[in-house]
Amino acid sequence: MTKVTMTVNGKSVAAETEGRTLLSAYLREGLGLTGTHIGCDTSQCGACVVHVNGQAVKACSVFAQDVAGADVRTIEGMANADGSLGVIQQAFQTHHGLQCGFCTPGMVMSTAALLKDNPKPTESEVRHYLEGNMCRCTGYHNIVKAVLAASGQDVGAIAAE
């Protein structure tokens, strides 16, 4: 077992790992940050997306030991300092961009990465970017709408909430 230290949501943290411990398991089992979800075993579903040094990464696709020392942000670090929902989170609630909530952490983290690089994406760009995040509940309609709204664009013209 090897102790791996990194910065998660602004705090320096450490947990024991095996060589095979994935970042997703490190966060969930090692640190108790269970907001990062595991929806598949082939790095397809995107429920485990977190930010590693500012980049969106599927946490099931990297070993914890390989990102020792990194600056990691998870869904638990996305709310405002006062605990209220951040802009993206609020847009997801306002526009009913989640149902069962399981894919939601990954969706929010991917959205944050998208809007950082592309602050005013088109609908098509949003759909293409979120192609690596599966949702079985929403049909993506309200997720796409929430992302557009979070980017400050007017979504009033999009049919039905």
């Binding site: 929806g39 996305m78 149902q99 894919c103 929403t138 309609h141 909430e161």
Partner: protein, 790 residues
């Protein structure tokens, strides 16, 4: 009206806060101190005789605490089928035992035959890899036609032709239907496949078993849509433990779509292991296991015939279906192709004569059971496809043919020829609304624009009905159900006036915590923020049957409103005493009990306080406290209906189909929260489009699942789908529940697949490929290209 939104408000969901901040509590997120980890060992052959399972190396592996095999569970009962179906010859269906772990034989790839429990998950995995199973592979029964035709190969040794039942509905109508076909001016015949689907809720199944030797109490935390039903199955049928000694908790559940209705062997195994080891045992499925062990959906092969006159008036309809039940009978698997399918086969139409035949067939594949829509998508797809084929053959307009055959509002209540009594509807209204919203009048212009871009554009329709709000217990009892299908709610008004509502329904994405609170708030005229909805824990909630079949609101919601009615009735008695008025003079409005004609009144909070601090209270005639329970058994099914339109573009070179638009005009009765209802339709339509264009569950001839991961099984992704246009303004409220609600959870998945396929065929016809009468789902580019180039 409550200040924070009652019935009809698009109140945002309170549950979102925890889901958006990573604070959801799904089974995988829960750890119990001292827990061990279970890994199941699954068959890699589809059909095999188990000669020997050597567990010695696994037991010697570091950290391994226990290994259990099918042998350890032979004394336990089987996981039962919930419905007993009678064949048309009168014999009872074949019901082979479904053990906790496979014993003697393995019957599908993924069939679990051993479980390894270890100190850590990694050690359990390592131990599982050391199980040595000597299994003789036998010829696999995969294809249904072969299964029936080749009785030498058997899934269950004692079932010689692999047929579970051969069901006719309604047998008394068969001769008249056959006679109508003989004399019909036109008969359209279509053979089609309703493709097998993997539900793939994003949260894989997971279960934690716990046992307290001090009390003899078991606890199961599990991914269930219906904790009480699971408890009943485990306690009474499988493990033989008293129901009161088992608590089943379904915490946050990440989607179900039917796949989490059922009791699975892993649940009993972790409970048994927990008792044997005297410590909690946790199991979380990997996605690969989900593909190999969650109940799949659909999988029908159907021949449908529609008899009509030359003007397209339907005269009779007849179907023959082979329904795959897989290797074992899952809990609802026998109801799905029969009473959720055959009874829908007259659709929204006047068709006077209908006969349905379904043979359920065992195969060496994962068990098949109800998946979003469950039988009703299969019925709707068959009907709506054959209607379009009839229009092609007779040169008639598919909208006009639908319109002339739809039931009209004056025909309700309508006794269908397949056993249902539709209470109300206005199918013309939803059809007209769909035509308007989809701008059907402007289609030719859009088609011309597509053509200019080298694309073939088509439009397809579906007018559909479903039977929801499952279900009247006395009726389903006659039909073979082994349980009742009522639901229950307890409304507990606390001494300080806030309210806890314990419901039998389970929310795994539907937003009950928000919507149910809206309804109670509306009824009581108090703010929803002071009302909590409690669900998912058998130690807290009354005995309800859970959520599936679009039943939560129509059945459990009704129980809840009836419990609130009892609260109000008791509140009036208390108020009458406090106000020194006659009970009959007390009115209740906006959270206030008033003595009619006076200015005397007591607030809801004052009444609640008085009930718990009964200093001035009629104790000699009235119990203190303010808590009421109601059970509700529906008088009838509910009948949501709608009209859908899909526009597609087909690439003439590649055969790729793109959804250009999708429009839904639904009748769900009264709508409690429009935002949530729209979301339900979006999700259902996405699953229907997934079935129509993308999702294919493929077995090879040896029974290996070729589409066993998200890399092989095409789930709908954000860039496969358009924005949807949905509407539910054409409401005809349900006539037999107080909220007038019908249910909306499955509609999208039921109505959409035929609209998509009809649109593709229309596009191909418009593009000159008039010889193509049908393409089976999923309508992949390869299939379209092959049809174009045949």
């Amino acid at each position: 009206m409550p200040k924070d939104g009652g019935i009809g408000a698009s109140t945002v969901r309170r549950e979102d806060i925890r889901f958006l901040t990573g604070k959801g509590r799904y089974t995988h997120d829960i750890d119990i101190r001292g827990q061990a980890y279970a890994v199941f060992v699954r068959s890699d052959v589809a059909n095999g005789k188990i000669n020997k399972i050597d567990t010695s190396k696994a037991m010697a592996s570091p950290g391994v605490l226990a290994v259990m095999t099918g042998e350890d569970f032979v004394g336990m009962g089987g996981n039962p089928a919930g419905w007993l179906i009678q064949s048309r010859g009168g014999e009872t269906m074949k019901e082979p035992k479904r053990p906790v772990l496979a014993h003697g034989k393995v019957r599908h790839v993924g069939d679990a035959y051993a479980v390894v429990v270890a100190e850590t998950l990694a050690q359990a995995r390592d131990g599982a890899a050391l199980i040595e199973a000597d299994i003789t592979e036998l010829p696999a029964v995969v294809n249904m036609a072969d299964a029936v035709a080749n009785p030498a190969n058997r899934v269950h040794d004692e079932i010689e032709n692999n047929v579970c039942f051969d069901w006719g509905w309604i047998e008394d109508n068969r001769a008249a239907v056959d006679a109508a076909f003989k004399s019909a001016p036109h008969v359209t015949t279509l053979e089609l496949v309703n493709n097998r689907l993997v539900p793939n809720a994003m949260e894989p199944r997971a279960s934690i078993g716990d046992y307290d030797p001090g009390t003899g109490d078991y606890k199961l935390i599990t991914t269930s849509q219906n904790p009480h039903l699971s408890r009943l199955l485990i306690a009474a049928f499988v493990m033989g433990i008293p129901e009161n000694k088992l608590t089943v908790i379904a915490p946050d559940v990440g989607g179900g779509f039917g796949s989490k209705i059922y009791h699975y062997g892993e649940e009993a195994a972790v409970l048994a292991a927990a008792k044997a080891l005297n410590r909690p045992v946790k199991w979380v499925a990997e996605r690969s296991e989900s593909f190999l062990s969650d109940a799949h959906g659909r999988d029908h092969v159907t021949k449908i015939e529609l008899a009509s006159d030359k003007e397209g008036n339907f005269l009779a309809l007849r179907t023959e279906t082979l329904a795959n039940v897989g290797a074992y009978l899952s809990n609802f698997s026998t109801a799905t192709p029969t009473f959720l399918h055959g009874t829908l086969m007259s659709g929204p139409y006047k068709t006077p004569l209908v006969y349905v035949n379904v043979k359920a067939v065992f195969t060496n594949t994962v068990p098949v059971d109800a998946y979003r829509g469950a039988g009703r998508p299969e019925a709707t797809y068959s009907i709506e496809r054959v209607v379009d084929k009839l229009c092609d053959e007779l040169g008639l307009d598919p909208l006009e043919v639908r319109r002339k055959n739809l039931l009209t509002p004056d025909q309700f209540p309508y006794q269908s020829p397949v056993g249902l009594m539709y209470d109300t509807g206005n199918y013309q209204a939803t059809l007209d609304k769909m035509l308007e919203l989809a701008d059907v009048a402007g289609f030719e212009k859009r088609a011309a624009a597509s053509k200019a871009r080298g694309k073939m554009r088509g439009i397809g329709y579906s007018t559909w009905i479903e039977a929801c709000g499952i279900a009247p217990s006395n009726l389903v009892g006659v039909l073979g159900a082994r349980v009742g299908l009522y639901d229950a709610a307890t409304v507990r008004v606390n001494a300080t006036g806030n309210i806890s509502v314990m419901v039998g329904a389970h929310s795994h994405g539907q937003g009950h915590e928000t919507v149910f609170a809206q309804i109670v708030a509306d009824q009581l005229g108090i703010d929803a923020s002071s009302i909590d909805i409690v669900h998912g824990d058998t130690s807290k909630i009354p005995f309800g049957m859970g959520s599936y079949g679009s039943r939560s609101l129509a059945v459990c919601g009704t129980a809840m409103t009836k419990a609130v009615d009892k609260i109000i009735a008791k509140g009036k008695k208390i108020a009458a005493h406090m106000l020194e008025a006659a009970e009959g003079d007390i009115t209740f409005e906006d959270g206030k009990f008033s003595d009619a004609g006076t200015d005397k009144a007591k607030t809801f909070g004052e009444i609640a306080f008085s009930a718990y601090v009964p200093h001035n209270y009629p104790l000699e005639t009235l119990e203190p406290g303010l808590e009421e329970t109601a059970f509700y058994d529906p008088a009838n099914f509910t009948y949501p209906a709608g009209a859908y339109a899909c526009e597609v573009e087909v690439d003439a070179d590649t055969g790729e189909v793109t959804i250009a638009s999708f429009t839904c005009a639904d009748d769900f009765g009264n709508v409690m929260n429009p935002m949530i209802v729209n979301g339900q339709v979006h999700g259902g339509v996405a699953q229907g489009i997934g079935q129509a264009l993308l999702e294919s569950t493929t077995y090879d001839e040896t029974g290996q699942l070729l589409s066993g991961s998200f890399m092989d099984y095409a789930m709908p992704r954000a860039d496969n789908l358009p924005m949807f246009t949905v509407d539910h303004s054409c409401n005809t409220p349900c006539t037999h529940n107080p909220l007038g609600v019908k249910g909306c959870g499955e509609a999208g998945a039921i109505g959409s697949p035929p609209a998509v396929v009809n649109a593709v065929i229309d596009a191909l016809h418009r593009g000159g490929h008039t010889n193509i009468s049908h393409i089976d789902m999923p309508v992949t580019p390869a299939r379209v290209w092959a049809a174009m180039n045949a």
